[in-house]
């Protein structure tokens, strides 16, 4: 494997002294209520990492139950008391664990932790701006996220437990305390936390869009933007247009829960008691939820796609293949993301004709997705690839995106989906294509931009171990779930031993559990690497360690607030002039030469 870090000839920039802050700042204004987009990015990242550990731990706990339903683990009772009576995970606890695992990973880690981190960090740096359009709103965005985090964390300690009706919080389960103990108070915490979270996303999103459209430096036309920025732009558009719809659904649900309205509830009898609600429609909630819920999948996936495009091009020392096609497919995915939500609802009694339209629109997403995969592979093709941990994770992303994308074609067909709905097949599909793939994109981004964030490198050896164990582990965990799902094993079952037909794979379940514990341990190793390297990692001595073209590598080693010491650099070319005219790379700031060939 090639040495990841080398000093590239012709980096062309003398190493500047550390860019210090432009004026004196107190500790509080520099690290806590900072308005510097780079600090806010780190705040999002570190909060996201803490949530990832919590959310990951939840999955290890419920995997223990799924792998070893007959065994008791007294240590669980020590930690969780009545929730794990006799060392066995209780049903309510199990449902709370899967609900919070989904909520935390989808929203707090892969939305806030991923696009919160990289949109904040990369947008001003790569478009050539001193900061976001509104640094103040940007700071508010983080603190709303923090507030959302505190409320969600607090909900874990309520006596009746946190929300446990699934991350999709379908009523009536989520609306009635009689239905599940998590719906007594935990769900109110969940809804209020999510309302704060949505405000955070919106404040962030409108800032990202404005900064990209209005704050680009001289010469940075839209088609010279790196694909990271394009991906983050479409992500923000998706968020700004779809999160408010979830907010409206959440508000209506709050009314149903606390003020006796009947938006989603109708004709319900609980233990012989007839509830007064009439005229509500539970399906209406699903429409409102999935109108966000589906774009949310792309809110998670697009930033990873953008970073992977950038990292693969930089590290294969080749221009990205088909820039305009990449851009077009990002655009197509964004449009289609809004038109496919009902494919989550094929078994709700949806009109089959309507269903077939959603099947068609869903399958159409395969076209831009395939274009992207093709372009990533052709970017790598015959490249002079440097297998850094970031490159490996980016390649891992492409692999997972293919594997998970192919099963999407199965599930997008209503005829097959009706059979596979609510089985482990679905769990396998969305974990591979959305969860793990985006996580890989996030890891790739962290390994790649860590030197710019903290002025030090992550440890490479730990990085390689991290990659290989996670890559092999992810396939070992989720691949067998496809077979389980095809064999009819449902999701969400606490203990399958009571059903002969669901009890075919106990050994497989044990294997998945063991692997997930190993993979989780390796993530802890990554977290150690992350925090250790912030303080003790090898120092970056070259402004442009990867020999990349984009503007963030023209800033000082440790840029202060304002990013560039002098003038903001002017841009003269696109971001992907690698291996052109015999030169390894040509930064965007370099003027086009007289005899230069076209790209």
């Amino acid at each position: 494997m090639s040495e990841a870090i080398s000093v590239h000839p012709g980096a062309g920039h003398a190493v500047h002294h550390d860019g210090h802050g432009h004026h004196h700042q107190s500790f509080v204004s520099k690290y806590i209520f900072s308005q510097d987009h780079k600090t806010i990015a780190k705040q999002f990242l570190i909060t996201g990492i803490i949530w990832a550990i919590i959310g990951g731990l939840f999955s290890v706990l419920f995997r223990l139950q799924l792998g070893y339903p007959e065994q008791s683990f007294p240590i669980l009772e020590t930690f969780f008391g009545n929730w794990a009576k006799g060392g066995q995970i209780q049903p309510e606890f199990y449902y709370a664990l899967i609900t919070m695992h989904g909520t935390v990973l989808v929203f707090f880690v892969l939305t806030a932790g991923l696009s919160g981190t990289f949109a904040n960090f990369l947008i001003p740096l790569q478009v050539g701006a001193r900061d976001m359009a509104s640094p103040f709103l940007n700071m508010l965005s983080y603190w709303f996220f923090f507030l959302a985090s505190v409320i969600m964390l607090a909900s874990l300690f309520i006596s009746t437990g946190p929300a446990s009706g699934g991350w999709t919080i379908y009523p009536p389960l989520s609306a009635l305390g009689q239905a599940s103990s998590g719906s007594i108070r935990g769900m109110d915490f969940w809804l209020i936390s999510m309302a704060m979270f949505i405000v955070s996303s919106l404040l962030g999103g409108i800032n990202y869009i404005t900064t990209i459209l209005n704050m680009r430096t001289k010469g940075m036309s839209m088609t010279r933007l790196p694909l990271t920025i394009w991906a983050l732009f479409f992500t923000a558009v998706l968020g700004v247009l779809s999160f408010p719809v979830l907010l409206s659904g959440a508000i209506l649900l709050l009314f149903d829960r606390n003020l006796g309205t009947s938006f989603f509830l109708s004709d319900i009898v609980v233990n012989g008691e007839i509830l007064p609600n009439e005229g509500g429609s539970a399906i209406l909630f699903q429409h409102l939820f999935w109108f966000l819920g589906h774009p949310e999948v792309y809110i998670i996936l697009l930033p990873a796609m953008g970073m992977v495009s950038e990292i693969l091009s930089v590290n294969s020392r080749k221009p990205i293949f088909g820039y305009m096609a990449m851009l077009g497919s990002l655009f197509a995915i964004t449009i289609l993301a809004f038109l496919v939500w009902a494919h989550h609802m094929f078994v709700t009694g949806l009109n089959p004709f309507l269903g077939s339209i959603f099947v068609l629109l869903t399958l159409l997403i395969a076209v831009p997705s395939a274009i992207k995969v093709f372009n990533w592979l052709t970017t790598l093709w015959r490249g002079n690839i440097r297998f850094t941990p970031a490159t490996l994770f980016a390649i891992g992303f492409v692999s997972l995106f293919i594997s998970g994308g192919l099963t999407g074609i199965f599930l997008g067909n209503s005829t097959i989906d009706i059979h596979l709905h609510d089985t482990m097949f679905v769990v396998a599909h969305f974990h591979i294509v959305m969860g793990v793939a985006s996580m890989f994109g996030m890891f790739a981004g962290i390994y790649h931009w860590f030197p710019k964030m903290f002025g030090r490198y992550l440890n490479n050896t730990l990085g390689y171990i991290h990659f290989w164990v996670t890559m092999i582990g992810a396939y070992l965990i989720f691949w067998p779930m496809h077979y389980q799902g095809l064999a009819g094993i449902p999701r969400r079952y606490l203990d399958k031993r009571g059903w002969v037909s669901f009890n075919d794979f106990p050994e497989l379940d044990k294997m998945i559990t063991i692997v997930s514990i190993i993979v989780f341990a390796v993530q802890l190793m990554f977290v150690f690497n992350f925090f250790y390297s912030i303080f003790k990692g090898r120092k970056v001595r070259n402004k442009n360690p990867w020999g990349a073209n984009t503007l963030e590598w023209t800033t000082p080693l440790r840029p202060g607030h304002g990013n560039w010491d002098g003038e903001i650099p002017e841009v003269h070319r696109w971001a992907y002039d690698y291996g052109k005219d015999g030169r390894e790379f040509i930064p965007q700031t370099e003027e086009i030469g007289e005899n230069e060939s076209k790209h």
Binding site: D131, I206, T210, N214, S262
Partner: protein, 199 residues
């Protein structure tokens, strides 16, 4: 903290700045408006879906809502005049017009409340099904957006008296005016929506 001057520098440097396009803060407001529109689109489309069900109860809008409509339209005029006097450096006129808009904004919210009370007294409550429940939520959320505008106007009103700035940037006033016209138009949309589909 990066001062506004730095933002200005960046903006003037940018290709979009060169072409004399919109100020970033104003643009931010337009994007935010797009986002708010989506929330009300979600709510009103939920209303349409549910209004097709049987046992749906319609409501007749109380008179208070017509008065508040007149008030908010008037306030749109006053804020536009305030913006013009700010641009012409007529600060005395600007102060009184902003103050007037503020009062009209508060009056709008008060009349919305009267409207709610009138409905409640007709036994249109949170119980049962029908347009009433949606009306409380949708009009209530709109009123919260107006209150947000009122708070901003209040800050601008105070600033207009204590502000010693020599920099006459009309951008903040323009941003608030855009928002205020938006909540006005949003209200007219909601009113027409309930008249045509809910009534």
């Amino acid at each position: 903290m990066v001062s506004d001057l730095k933002i200005e520098e960046n903006y003037k440097n940018s290709p979009s700045g060169d072409r004399g396009k919109m100020h970033p803060h104003k643009f931010t407001m337009w994007v935010a408006i797009g986002s708010i529109i989506m929330m009300f689109a979600g709510l009103t489309s939920a209303f349409i879906v549910k209004s097709n069900q049987t046992n749906w109860i319609t409501v007749e809008l109380p008179k208070a809502f017509w008065i508040s409509t007149a008030i908010i339209i008037a306030s749109s005029l006053t804020i536009q005049m305030a913006l013009r006097s700010f641009k012409q450096r007529e600060m005395g006129k600007y102060r009184s017009l902003i103050g007037f808009t503020l009062i009209l904004g508060v009056a709008f919210v008060v009349f919305q409340w009267f409207g709610f009370e009138a409905l409640w007294s007709q036994q249109i409550t949170f119980k049962g099904a029908g347009a009433g429940q949606f009306l409380y939520v949708i009009f209530g959320l709109h009123a919260i957006h107006v209150i947000g505008g009122i708070v901003t106007l209040l800050i601008m009103f105070i600033k207009a008296f204590i502000g010693k700035t020599k920099l006459y940037s009309a951008v903040p006033v323009e941003v608030v005016a855009v928002y205020w016209h938006f909540v006005d138009l949003l209200w007219i949309y909601l009113l027409l929506f309930f008249l045509i589909i809910g009534g």
